[in-house]
Symmetry: C2
Subunit: 341 residues, 2 copies
Amino acid sequence: MGKMTLEDVAREAGVSLATVDRVVNGRMGVHARTIERVNAAIKQLGFLSDPHASRLARVRDYDFRIILPTGENEFMQNLDAEFRATRERQLQERVRLSIEHVDTFDGVAVAAALESLPSGIDGVAVVALDHPAVTEAINALADSGVVVLTLVSDVPNSRRAHYVGIDNFAAGRTAASLIGRFVGPREGKVGMIAGSLALRDHIERQFGFEQIISREYPNLEVLPVREARDENARVEAAAGALLKDHSDLVAIYNAGGGQAGVIKALEASGHVSDVIFVAHELTPSTRRHLVRGTVDALINQDAGHMARSTARILTALREGRPIVPGQEHIRIDIFLRDNMP
Amino acid sequence: MGKMTLEDVAREAGVSLATVDRVVNGRMGVHARTIERVNAAIKQLGFLSDPHASRLARVRDYDFRIILPTGENEFMQNLDAEFRATRERQLQERVRLSIEHVDTFDGVAVAAALESLPSGIDGVAVVALDHPAVTEAINALADSGVVVLTLVSDVPNSRRAHYVGIDNFAAGRTAASLIGRFVGPREGKVGMIAGSLALRDHIERQFGFEQIISREYPNLEVLPVREARDENARVEAAAGALLKDHSDLVAIYNAGGGQAGVIKALEASGHVSDVIFVAHELTPSTRRHLVRGTVDALINQDAGHMARSTARILTALREGRPIVPGQEHIRIDIFLRDNMP
DNA sequence: AACCCATTGAGGTGTGCAACTCTTTTTGAC
DNA sequence: GTCAAAAAGAGTTGCACACCTCAATGGGTT
């Protein structure tokens, strides 16, 4: 079966082109029986609408909204920049991305942002925290035919169509393995800092981290997690306290943002070289400290990949086309000094 | 400036649409002076041809050739499978990929394969070894207007348009860092096995590996590299010899294929748990042994990404469109037991 | 002056689909 | 059996470009 056109389908189904068009695009005014016939013909001929032709013919651009957190988190700023770059490229593709910012730590605010979206929106991608109001808002949107994607942190019990981000359990486990192997046979304590345990991604990282340390590295003991809201100052205080209170501290894992805070505390304590530090997200600053050795390993999710993937998935789902799983899977990148991009 | 069309360019340049079309598509029969005027108008208006419209209007499909190695190398078989999957998807995009196999270890054979390509081909991607005959063949193709990409292993002094693969120096350095850190303060010898030092990627990996070990890990000593042509049996013999000849062997780095050989030798020697083993490429077999702990870390280049990237780059270059560097950069993936996809 | 040939223009057709209008046919309620 | 509403058909146009034909222009040649 070569290239099938709508006309072939129309002929096969014994209906007119207009009817096939109505069925394919889910417009009303077609008898259920006829819809069946058309769908049968489509399946039988293996018809796949030509994406170029349909994008060319489309009058209206797709209108997608991206909802990102406010705040100083470097990764989020990076993600924002990547979305802006993607937006420029997508304009040629008749896809419009608009980027909004809300306080992600506030579930009600996120829900409000979702609820106040104008109708006519084709899809949303949102960095959401796992809060009942957010779940409700997502479900309402999904039910009204809007494609909803969760970004960075998932809301798994909602009807979001897809999650764009890494497996955060696995990320936590990876951090644990790196620390366990880098520390070696030494005994000691491991400190963990998170942004907020209201964010699902951070809880998951914590869970994975503690699981592996306790199971595989009996020489290590994880100290109680400290929350620091991804803010440099608070992170610095938390790391400083860890270093001061525990003379046998051998490693720090910062699962959230504010890496600069840990670095400052490490430098102030004079333990840069004997305390292993594993952090998240490749930024100009973490990159520099990875080269210097202050940071021993970075766990990263590629912001550019996420932005491009989000755009691709939104349009694919909107058009009812399949997505390519391998292409859209966000990897847990491990960066050492030597394999940075 | 919004969406510019060919018609806008024609108006701006003061010529007809037909002439603009001739210039844009490189057809003959236009005065040099006129070509200049049209190009100036294009640049001034920031015109970018709509990829959907042009693909839709094009009668002929693009015809790209992919030249892969014969042999049992698991990564190459994986790459082959990914190219086949990509081919199916690209058919809808009016792009035809055909996949050939030649003996990559034979420079003359690779060159012959390149030279015997039918004219009318739009582009080639080839896993090439760095051999004068190959360089010549690539240059000849490039000069005749064919887009040439190198795959996996580069031929940097040729006029290939792009290289799709990882930085192999960095991959070697990464392997060294992993081994250095996993071994810890222990002293001992490190064995390295490569496929063939006639392949540029393996030389580069060796170089990067030895550079880091000698510079950063004075407790380790790299033994002379053994070539094993990516064949399981030869690799097993090489690894077995390493294990037998050096009682103070603390790590093995296999820069080529045939990981199963190393695993067999390790298991036979009883040193599975105390000899660190770092290998390349995630395959069903290496994956299994990474979980079991026989393999301590894997360095990977994503075959799916490479196949998709190759297709995108070929068509983009063929159409004179820019490529997105971040999207086409092939990462050096580090996989531990915990972050496998 | 007659002629040649490189340039250029004009215009048409095709591409596969979205979206719209205008008819015609069918269906179902009363 | 009547009539309106629902369903289906027919036909057109637009999208931005590729590709082709045919004709016109004009400078240079002999």
